[in-house]
Amino acid sequence: MNDADIDSDATDRMLLQRMAVGDRTALAVLYRSYYGRLSRFLARLTRRSDVIEEVVNDCFWIAWQKAGSFHGDSRVSTWIIGIAYRCGLKALRQHGDEPVEDDVLVLDRFHAHDPDEDRELRDWLAKGLNRLTADQRLVIELVYGLGHTLDDVAIIMQCPVGTVKARLFHARVKLRNTLPALAGEPVRQKESMP
């Protein structure tokens, strides 16, 4: 945990304490601060914006109810993303087989504004992630996207660190076997080793 992480966790704890006594402004601040992180995490489970919002709200509904029982055993971010993880899996079971045609149309319009480069990178990623299980996709997002440590991921997924390591390893092997064939361009030099 670096200094910035410690600062933001102290802020989050203060907000939770205020939520525990019914402060809605604190809830709104925490909601806005986590909305981006939670929605990109949940986007690895579903492409439906309505389901993503539903899960974010389920997560904050629980956080609002349980704010007073948070004892600080983990960072607030780990606690909140753990709630979102469980709500997300529940929503996946409920909505997993529903049609998504409407959203695909929305996404196509949305993507029309993407630079070609980004769009290509997104497609490349989507093809790779499609070969992974839901838990493998989420481990990839938690580690590379949100920057959580293996210990944090173990708390979020409520499993041993060994299981997280195994999920990450198998996800990488699958990606390694899938993605080279899909890579359309060499990696940009700035991202290579110095």
């Binding site: 809605r24 809830l27 709104a28 909601y31 806005r32 909305y35 981006g36 929605s39 990109r40 986007a43 492409r47 914006s49 993503i52 919002e53 974010v56 709200n57 904050f60 509904w61 609002w64 109810q65 929305v106 996404l107 949305f110 993507h111 993407d114 980004d118 990178l121 997104r122 490349w124 990623l125 790779g128 990839i140 997002e141 580690v143 590379y144 996207g145 920057g147 990450l168 390893f169 990488r172 092997v173 990606l175 390694r176 993605l179 080279p180 890579a183 060499p186 990696v187 940009r188 991202e191 290579s192 080793m193 110095p194």
Partner: protein
């Protein structure tokens, strides 16, 4: 490409370090070690290139149109009006209060019934009792009425007058009066309904009629 199970010791270590090295979260010594391994190992170099691309792809801005303001509004509305399915503490508390009130009213009603019967047994003078005459003295259509404690005597009297009611007993220990209607055009049920919708009346219950 080597299958990962055949990774050498150095390659295994390099695989483990890569995700964190990409995020600048390793010690300088570790970073230096990885750099030197990558210059010697083509397999790890290609893996690192792919990892870099993966990291870049995962840090692109979200690609699903979402509206946090609308989401927050819906969340606050949900908190303000928890529906019956939400097992919130607030909903449980409401349930508890409702059950307590129901229980209190039941106790009160039972008290009125018991005391009312007792009252009538003392005042009336039925000469012959049979077992089937459980409540021999209550006149047909008698109603137990509990007015609010805050109700003024003048209001109570005017209510009795306008509804053509006559007090035939009470008040008992719980403040219940026994009343009968002297308006023959109104059925006991109509009188009861009217009383129940009258402001200032806490309770109106028919007295069990004798068979």
């Amino acid at each position: 490409m080597k299958p990962p199970s055949d990774l050498g010791k150095d390659c295994a270590r390099s695989w483990e370090v890569m995700p964190w090295a990409l995020q600048n979260r390793v010690s300088p010594a570790e970073d230096e070690w990885l750099t030197s391994h990558l210059t010697q190992c083509e397999s790890c170099r290609s893996e690192f290139e792919q990892q870099s691309r993966l990291r870049m792809a995962l840090t692109l801005p979200p690609d699903i149109p979402l509206n946090p303001d609308a989401g927050l509004r819906r969340l606050l509305a949900r908190i303000d009006a928890p529906d019956a399915q939400e097992t919130s503490q607030r909903a449980r508390a409401t349930g508890w209060i409702t059950r307590t009130l129901v229980a209190a009213v039941l106790v009160q009603a039972l008290g009125i019934g018991v005391l009312g019967v007792k009252l009538w047994s003392q005042n009336a003078v039925p000469v012959y009792h049979t077992l089937s005459q459980a409540n021999p003295a209550a006149p047909v259509g008698a109603i137990h009425v509990v007015p609010d404690e805050s109700m003024r005597l003048s209001d109570w009297n005017s209510l009795l007058h306008t509804m053509h009611l006559q007090v035939v007993g009470g008040p008992n220990d719980v403040g219940a009066y026994t009343v009968v209607s002297v308006d023959t055009s109104l059925s006991p049920r109509d009188t009861l309904q009217k009383l129940r919708t009258t402001q200032g009346i806490r309770l109106a219950e028919p007295v069990a009629a004798a068979p």
